[in-house]
C-alpha cells in the first residue's frame, strides 16, 4: 500500500471506530437524561439505580468516543493539509464552532455530571445531563455541516487556487445536510434503543434481581428503537432527493458505495420489522423469555448498519475530497513520507483498536454485573471516624 492508501485507511478505521462509540452516545444520552429526570421527580431507588446503571454504560462508552475524536480532529492537520490549504477558509469554520460551542461544553458538563453525584443540588445535577445531551446533538450538527460541505461545497466560491466562504447560511442549509442530520440522529436512537433492549433482555433471561428495573428499560428500549427505526428509514429515503440533486451519480459506478447502501437498507428494514413486532407485544415482552436471547443476538446489527451508512456516504464521494473541486489524492499533505504515515497508522489504529476492544469488554462487564454494583454515583465512603 502506498502513502495515500495508508492515510485513507487510517482515516476510515479511526473514523469508523469513532462513530461506533459516538452513535451509541447520541442514542443513550437522551435516554439517560429521561431516566435521570424521572429520578429527580420521584426520588425512588429504582429510578436512581436505572439512571446510574445506564449512565455507567453511557460514560464507559463515552471514554472511547473522546479519545477517538481527538485523533480524528488532528488527523486533518497531520495527513490532509491539502484540504485545509484549499478549503480551510470554509471547512475550518464548522470544525472550529464544533469545538468551541459544542464539544467544549459537552466535555465540561459531562465532568460535572459524572462527579456531581451527591454533590450538586438535584435539579442542577439533572440540568448537566440535559446540557450534555444538547451539546452532543450540537456537536453532531456541526460535524455534519463540515461533512456535507465535502459532499457538496455549498456556500463557497472559487478564488484563484482556493475556496472562500461566501454564504455561511448556505453552508447550514446544504441539501447534503438537511435529511442526513436527522438520519444520523435517528440512527443514534436506533442503536441506543437496541442496546438498552438487549442489556435488559439479558438480565430478564438470566432472572437476575432488578426484574422490575429491566422490564421497564426493556419497554423503553423497544419504544426507542421503534421510533428510531421508523425515523432512520424515513429520513434515509428522504435523503435520496436532495443528495442526488447535488451528487447525481453518487451510487452509480461506485460498487463499494452501492454495496454499503444496499446492505444498510436491508439491515434497516430488518431492524424496523423487529422493532415493529416488538412494539406490538411490548406489554408482554418482559415476560416472554424466548424473545430475550433473540433480542441479544441482533445487537450488532444497528452498529453494522451505521458503519455501512458511512461507507455509502464517503465511498460515494470518491475520488473527490470535495465534490468536483478537490481530489483526495490532492488533499494529502505534500511530502508525507511512508515512515510518517506508518508511524501514525500503528500509533492511532493500533492503540485505538486495542482500547476499543478493552472498552467493549468493560461495557459487557458493566452490563453483566447489573444495577446493584455501579461505580457511577456510588455513595462516597464515610469519612474515617476521628480517634484519639
Amino acid at each position: 500500500m502506498d502513502v495515500l492508501d495508508l492515510a485513507r485507511l487510517q482515516f476510515a478505521v479511526t473514523g469508523s471506530l469513532h462513530f461506533l462509540f459516538v452513535v451509541l452516545t447520541l442514542g443513550l444520552a437522551p435516554l439517560v437524561a429521561i431516566m435521570h429526570t424521572r429520578y429527580a421527580r420521584t426520588g425512588s431507588t429504582l429510578d436512581e439505580r436505572a439512571t446510574r446503571f445506564w449512565g455507567q454504560i453511557y460514560v464507559t462508552n463515552y471514554a472511547l468516543g473522546i479519545v477517538t475524536g481527538i485523533v480524528m480532529e488532528f488527523q486533518f492537520g497531520l495527513s490532509w493539509s491539502g484540504l485545509t490549504h484549499y478549503a480551510g477558509d470554509v471547512f475550518g469554520a464548522p470544525l472550529a464552532l464544533e469545538t468551541l460551542i459544542a464539544f467544549f461544553l459537552e466535555s465540561t458538563f459531562l465532568g460535572l455530571w459524572i462527579f456531581g453525584w451527591h454533590r450538586l443540588p438535584t435539579w442542577l445535577h439533572l440540568a448537566t445531563i440535559w446540557l450534555v445531551t444538547i451539546t452532543a446533538y450540537a456537536s453532531a450538527f456541526w460535524i455534519m455541516v463540515a461533512n456535507s460541505f465535502l459532499q457538496h461545497p455549498a456556500g463557497s466560491v472559487r478564488d484563484g487556487e482556493v475556496l472562500r466562504l461566501d454564504d455561511f447560511g448556505a453552508l447550514l442549509t446544504n441539501p447534503s445536510l438537511s435529511m442526513a442530520l436527522p438520519h444520523v440522529l435517528s440512527a443514534g436512537l436506533t442503536v441506543g434503543g437496541f442496546v438498552v433492549m438487549s442489556a435488559s433482555a439479558y438480565h430478564l433471561f438470566r432472572r437476575t434481581p432488578d426484574q422490575e428495573l429491566f422490564s421497564r428499560s426493556l419497554r423503553m428500549g423497544i419504544w426507542t428503537s421503534f421510533a428510531g427505526t421508523m425515523m432512520v428509514v424515513g429520513f434515509g429515503f428522504a435523503q435520496f432527493g436532495p443528495v442526488t440533486s447535488v451528487q447525481p451519480d453518487k451510487f452509480a459506478d461506485r460498487p463499494l458505495a452501492a454495496f454499503g447502501l444496499g446492505m444498510m437498507i436491508l439491515i434497516g428494514h430488518l431492524l424496523q420489522l423487529i422493532a415493529l413486532a416488538l412494539v406490538i407485544v411490548v406489554k408482554w415482552a418482559p415476560r416472554w423469555r424466548f424473545l430475550h436471547p433473540l433480542i441479544v443476538l441482533v445487537t450488532p446489527l444497528p452498529f453494522i448498519a451505521a458503519i455501512l451508512g458511512w461507507i455509502a456516504r464517503e465511498e460515494g464521494r470518491q475520488p473527490w475530497m470535495i465534490w468536483e473541486r478537490l481530489k483526495v489524492a490532492d488533499a494529502i499533505t505534500p511530502g508525507l513520507t511512508g515512515g510518517q504515515i506508518t508511524l501514525s497508522f500503528v500509533g492511532f489504529v493500533g492503540v485505538l483498536t486495542l482500547l476499543a476492544v478493552a472498552d467493549y469488554v468493560l461495557i459487557v462487564r458493566v452490563v453483566r454485573r447489573g444495577a446493584h454494583e455501579v461505580a457511577l454515583g456510588e455513595n462516597p465512603a464515610p469519612a474515617p471516624a476521628l480517634t484519639f
Binding site: S107, L112, L336, A375
Partner: protein, 230 residues
C-alpha cells in the same frame, strides 16, 4: 479581528498549559505518590474540563488560522507522540479501577504524561526551528514545571495548602515564549475577515456559558471529599 482571534488562540493554549499542567504533573508524580487514589481523585473532576482546552486550540487553529495548520504536519512525529500519549493517559484514567491491575494503568498514566510533555517540547521547539535534542530538553523543562504545579495543586486540594496560581503561571511560560515569538506570523495568516466575523458572531453569545461552566467545575470540586470514579 485577527488580533482578537489570536488572543483567543493564545488564551486557550495558555489555559491548557495552566490547567492540564497540573493533571499531567500529578500523572508524572504517580510513581512516587503514596496515596494514588486520592491524588487521581483530586484531579479527576477537572480532567475533562481541562483537556478540552487543547481541542479548542485545534478548533481555533482550523477556523481562524487555517494557513497555520501546517505546523501540525511540519512536526508530524511530535504531534503523533502527543496524541498517542494523550489517548493512553485518558485510557489509564478511565480503566484504572476496572481493567487489569491498577499499577499497570498508573505506570501508563505516568509514562503517557511524560510523553505529552516531551511532545510539547518537540512541537514548540520545532516552531522555532530548534533541534530535536533541544526539543527534548524543552520537554523535560515542561515536565519539571508541571510536576511543580501538580504538587502544588495536590497540596492545595488535599491538605489545604496555598493556591496553585503561581505554579500555574510558571507552567504557562513554556507556551508563552513561542506564542510571543510567532504572534506576527500567526496574525498575518488569519482567515479572511468575513470568516472571523461569522465565528465571532457565533461564539460570542456562548462565552458566558463557556466561562460559567468552567467556573462551576472549580466551585463544585475545589473542596469537599475527593470523588472516586477514576
Amino acid at each position: 479581528m485577527d488580533i482578537l482571534w489570536f488572543g483567543v488562540l493564545a488564551l486557550l493554549l495558555i489555559g491548557y498549559f495552566v490547567l492540564e499542567g497540573f493533571d499531567l504533573g500529578v500523572g508524572l508524580l504517580l510513581p512516587v505518590t503514596a496515596d494514588r487514589d486520592r491524588a487521581i481523585g483530586a484531579i479527576g473532576p477537572f480532567v475533562l474540563a481541562n483537556e478540552v482546552w487543547l481541542i479548542a486550540v485545534a478548533g481555533v487553529l482550523f477556523g481562524a488560522f487555517p494557513a497555520c495548520e501546517n505546523v501540525l504536519s511540519a512536526n508530524y512525529e511530535a504531534v503523533v507522540l502527543l496524541l498517542v500519549s494523550w489517548v493512553v493517559r485518558d485510557a489509564g484514567l478511565w480503566f484504572r479501577r476496572r481493567l487489569f491491575t491498577r499499577a499497570f494503568w498508573e505506570w501508563a498514566i505516568a509514562l503517557a504524561s511524560l510523553g505529552v510533555c516531551l511532545a510539547w517540547g518537540l512541537l514548540l521547539a520545532g516552531l522555532g526551528g530548534f533541534s530535536v535534542p533541544f526539543g527534548l530538553l524543552y520537554g523535560l523543562l515542561i515536565a519539571a514545571l508541571f510536576v511543580l504545579h501538580g504538587r502544588r495543586f495536590l497540596d492545595w486540594r488535599l491538605t489545604g495548602g496555598g493556591s496553585p496560581l503561581v505554579t500555574g503561571a510558571l507552567a504557562a511560560v513554556p507556551a508563552l515564549v513561542p506564542l510571543v515569538g510567532t504572534a506576527g506570523a500567526v496574525v498575518a495568516n488569519a482567515a479572511p475577515s468575513a470568516n472571523l466575523t461569522v465565528l465571532t458572531f457565533m461564539v460570542l453569545p456562548f462565552v458566558p456559558v463557556l466561562a460559567g461552566a468552567q467556573i462551576w467545575v472549580w466551585r463544585a470540586f475545589g473542596k469537599g471529599p475527593v470523588p472516586a470514579y477514576f
